[in-house]
C-alpha cells in the first residue's frame, strides 16, 4: 500500500476555500485515492474518492494531476463545522473487492470565525 504524506495541521477562516494536499509518490496503477473526515468523538466518514483528473461531489472536490503522485482535497467556503481531521488514503479498490484501510496521522483542520 502506498504511503501518504500530508500536513499535520492547517488553519483557516470561515468562508475561505481550503486546499489540503497529499503526496503519494509510490502510488500503484490500481490504486484509488480516498479522503475521509473525522469529527471528534465520531468515526471516520467517507468524503470523496478518485482515480485521476477531477472529482466533485456535494461536499468537496478532488484534484489529481496526471502523474497521480499527489492529490488535493478542496473544501469550498468552509464553516466552523468543517473543523475535523482529514485523512488521505491510497489503496487498491479496483481489482480487490475489499481491503483494510491504513490510516496515517491525517491533517487537523481548524476553522476560525
Amino acid at each position: 500500500l502506498a504511503k501518504t504524506t500530508q500536513p499535520i495541521s492547517m488553519d483557516s477562516y470561515e468562508g475561505q476555500e481550503v486546499n489540503i494536499t497529499c503526496s503519494h509518490n509510490n502510488i500503484a496503477t490500481n490504486d484509488y485515492i480516498t479522503w475521509y473526515q473525522q469529527f471528534p468523538s465520531q468515526g471516520p466518514r467517507f468524503i470523496i474518492q478518485g482515480y485521476k483528473t477531477k472529482v466533485t461531489n456535494e461536499v468537496a472536490s478532488l484534484f489529481i494531476p496526471a502523474d497521480r503522485k499527489s492529490s488535493t482535497l478542496s473544501l469550498p467556503r468552509v464553516s466552523l463545522s468543517d473543523t475535523a481531521v482529514y485523512y488521505c488514503l491510497v489503496g487498491d479498490t479496483f481489482y480487490s473487492s475489499a481491503s483494510k484501510i491504513i490510516f496515517g496521522s491525517g491533517t487537523r483542520l481548524s476553522i476560525r470565525p
Binding site: Y32, T34, S41, Q42, G43, P44, R45, F46, Q49, T93, F94, Y95, S96, S97, A98, S99, K100, I101, I102, F103, G104, S105, G106
Partner: protein, 115 residues
C-alpha cells in the same frame, strides 16, 4: 437507512476484567472491519470479516482479543483479560465489498478505559 452502530459507547473496566464490544453493520454489508485508536496514536486495523469468515486478522494484537461474527450479521470483540494498554477507541466499519469503489462506513466507536 441505519448506519453502523456500536455498543456500548463507553466502557470503563478494571485491569483483568473482560469486556465485549458489539458492532452492528449496515444491513446487507458482507464486510465488517474492526479498528482501534490508542491514545496519541493513529487508527490501526485489527481484523476483517467477510460474512462470518475472518478474511484478515493480521492486526489483532494478541490472543487476549477474540472477534466473532456468528451468522454473518453483527460482530463482537471480546478482550479477556483487559490490560491498561487496551484503552482506546474501538471502531467498527462495514462495506458492501464492491470492486472499484468499496467505501467503508464507520460507526461512532466504543471508548474503552481500562483502570
Amino acid at each position: 437507512e441505519a448506519g453502523v452502530t456500536q455498543f456500548p459507547s463507553h466502557s470503563v473496566i478494571e485491569k483483568g476484567q473482560t469486556v465485549t464490544l458489539r458492532c452492528d453493520p449496515i444491513s446487507g454489508h458482507d464486510n465488517l472491519y474492526w479498528y482501534r485508536r490508542v491514545m496519541g496514536k493513529e487508527i490501526k486495523f485489527l481484523l476483517h470479516f467477510v460474512k462470518e469468515s475472518k478474511q484478515d486478522e493480521s492486526g489483532m494484537p494478541n490472543n487476549r482479543f477474540l472477534a466473532e461474527r456468528t451468522g454473518g450479521t453483527y460482530s463482537t470483540l471480546k478482550v479477556q483479560p483487559a490490560e491498561l494498554e487496551d484503552s482506546g477507541v474501538y471502531f467498527c466499519a462495514s462495506s458492501q465489498g464492491l470492486a472499484g469503489t468499496d467505501t467503508q462506513y464507520f460507526g461512532p466507536g466504543t471508548r474503552l478505559t481500562v483502570l
